[in-house]
């Protein structure tokens, strides 16, 4: 069946659930919370049909614990929540990173206020994990499968960042299986088979090893840090539109970038020298590509649905070569689900035009 004919109308949550199953995910645990709830619903229905397991955990803390145990046995496993639930999971997420266990985590966030949580490690200790920020349901299908591939390849957690619109908007989507390069076998995973052999495993986040007392901090931390350095070099992803001769480069990610892309295309068609840079990985942040794209720009505008978080990374990439101005802000609804006035092409257009004209804007809060 071709992609065109296999398309079906489904909400983003269902598309992600189907993509997870296509990627071989056979374990999920979660706790309901808007706007993540439907992802749990779809997986609770679908995983048993595929011979998998979905557990309604007693809290997000246990949800990630269960996913940790499942992933430790070599199964493709995932959990998720919204930002608040992710806060509860951070202690485990930090340890899972150091135990080098591949785990996929979905954050169907309420707006974009969780950028720092996602990209700065989020919990205690020195670590970061890979963050993918799909722009729509079709890309979420690809990113979900990529997340499982990257998690296994690097033995590292991967976070997929969505939001209310991504999770709840129904679109025509084809869940096509993505082909990846073959992976090495998971000989590190615990299956119980090596007891008494002298080669049994210990999936340990604090650097303890079998047969020797104590911890070698130098070896442990160097190994982890060198891996993070390799990820940082290998995995930045981004998309650009019309940045070659752009005087103004708009930087936006996720659902917000979808509005920005529409507006930038519209303004370009009208002759404005504006372009779009869209980070696809929030960590590693595509700093080098952004520096190159903005080398000839007179201004860089950061459109994000928060009080100013990604703008730190944008400024670090631009390094003072052009002014970096915020044009987004906190923008939400009375229920706090992150559906605010900013998610409107006309509003975004007005703010991009203001940046083009060098006009000051109210930022920080745009309710």
């Amino acid at each position: 069946m071709s992609a065109a004919t296999s398309r079906r109308l489904m909400e983003g949550s269902e598309a992600i659930a189907e993509a997870a199953i296509a990627a071989g995910c056979r374990f999920f645990a979660g706790y309901p919370m808007t706007p993540f709830t439907e992802l749990l619903e779809h997986l609770a229905r679908r995983l048993p049909e595929e011979g998998g397991t979905c557990i309604n955990a007693e809290s997000e803390i246990e949800a990630i614990g269960m996913a940790w145990g499942a992933a430790a046995t070599g199964a493709r496993a995932a959990t998720g929540s919204t930002g608040q639930g992710l806060s509860l999971m951070q202690e485990s997420l930090s340890e899972i990173t150091r135990a080098e266990i591949p785990l996929v985590v979905f954050n169907m966030a309420r707006g974009q206020g969780d950028y720092f949580q996602a990209t700065r490690g989020g919990g205690h200790g020195d670590y970061r994990h890979i963050v993918l920020a799909p722009i729509d349901a079709s890309e979420a299908v690809a990113h979900t499968q990529l997340a499982f591939d990257l998690a296994d390849r690097w033995r590292h957690p991967v976070l997929v960042m969505g939001d209310y619109l991504l999770a709840h908007t129904s679109e025509a989507v084809a869940v096509e299986r993505v082909a990846f390069d073959p992976q090495p076998s998971k000989d590190w995973a615990v299956d119980g088979s090596l007891g008494g052999s002298g080669r049994s495993r210990n999936l340990n986040p604090i650097g303890m090893e079998k047969g020797s007392k104590g911890i070698d901090p130098d070896r442990f931390w160097r190994r982890l840090q060198e891996k993070q350095d390799r990820i940082e070099a290998a995995e930045p992803r981004h998309e650009t539109f019309a940045t070659e001769d752009a005087e103004l480069v708009v930087v936006a990610y996720g659902t917000v970038a979808r509005f920005a892309r529409y507006v930038v295309q519209e303004l370009r068609a009208e002759g404005a020298k504006v372009g779009l840079f869209r980070p696809i990985t929030l960590w590693p942040f595509p700093s080098e590509a952004l520096a190159a794209c903005t080398a000839g720009a007179t201004r860089v505008a950061c459109l994000e649905q928060n009080a100013g978080q990604m703008i730190d990374d944008v400024r670090l990439a631009v390094l003072g070569r052009a002014p970096v101005v915020p044009i987004g802000g906190i923008s939400t609804d009375p229920a706090g689900f992150g559906i605010g006035r900013l998610l409107d092409a006309a509003v975004v257009r007005g703010r991009v035009e203001a940046a083009l004209a060098g006009r000051e804007l109210d930022t920080g809060v745009v309710v």
């Binding site: 374990f27 246990e62 614990g65 996913a67 046995t73 119980g192 008494g196 210990n202 999936l203 007392k213």
Partner: protein
């Protein structure tokens, strides 16, 4: 309990190294040396666990999920596949592992601070779900690793570093008798409490562990073995008085015996 609190210096490393426990060896150990305090009950309990695994010929199907406490230091000696979990979180990690490896013997190893303080809801929910794993509690009534602080299982009157005049029900609240609590949950198939303060106690601990593991391998749901262990350092008593203290202070409250077998409550003698 004596009225006088004897203070044993624990702020600096002991002047003498720990003695090797005689006969500690098991085929499932990579080394016999450990760094826990003299008189500690945890190596004895670990030996009982490894013996039970060995006796039932389950070494090549066993996965252990370990919490954080003094016993964590023993894990580098254990020749079984292990997952190191966070403090309090072993039952949920064991749940995910067991669901993906249903033919394995899945056990957790936690202390009282880990299981009954930090992660109480984990073990309760795992038991209520009838999760087919064996949770093992090493209960000495104190946070041993931090130097003898009150836990949720510290008995009334017991002196710890943060209950200096003894645990007072009106001020500190009552201890949680976790085996008794878990035995009342529908998903629990086997629940027992043992000790390692004397030879018959160790033999009984091994027997209960074997029964719990057999129960799991038969798919009878959640199984639980609590083992009272000595912590003379955290109890501030001389090493040789550890077993007597356990018998006199802890065991009358955390009473030894099987509480549930084959899914049915065991009537007290």
């Amino acid at each position: 309990m004596s009225d006088d609190l004897r203070v044993i210096q624990t702020d600096s490393p002991p002047a003498e190294g720990a003695c090797r426990t005689q006969g500690f060896g098991s085929p499932l150990q990579l080394s016999e040396e450990h760094d826990l305090c003299p008189g500690c009950g945890e190596p004895v309990a670990l030996r009982a666990i490894l013996d039970a695994v060995e006796t039932l010929d389950l070494a090549q199907r066993a996965i252990g999920v370990v919490g954080i406490g003094c016993y964590t230091a023993l894990t580098s000696l254990i020749d079984l596949d292990l997952i190191q979990a966070l403090h309090g979180r072993a039952p949920s990690v064991a749940t995910g592992a067991k669901r993906m490896r249903p033919d394995s013997l899945l056990f957790t190893l936690q202390g009282d601070g880990d299981m009954v303080n930090e992660g109480l809801q984990e073990v309760i929910h795992a038991a209520a779900r009838g999760e087919n794993v064996t949770c093992i509690l090493l209960n000495n009534g104190v946070f041993g690793e931090t130097g003898g602080h009150m836990t949720a299982t510290t008995v009334l009157g017991q002196r710890t570093k943060n209950s200096l005049e003894g645990r007072d029900a009106a001020y500190h609240g009552h201890p949680i008798l976790i085996a008794d609590l878990l035995s009342r949950l529908g998903g629990a198939g086997y629940v027992a409490r043992a000790s390692v303060h004397d030879a018959p106690g160790v033999a009984r601990a091994r027997r209960y562990l074997e029964r719990a593991f057999e129960s799991q391998m038969k798919g009878e749901g959640f199984s639980f073995v609590e083992i009272l262990t000595m912590c003379p350092t955290g109890w501030f008593v001389p090493t040789a008085e550890g077993p007597g203290y356990l018998d006199d202070v802890l065991a009358p409250i955390h009473q030894l015996g099987e509480l549930k077998r084959d899914g049915a409550l065991v009537e007290p003698d």
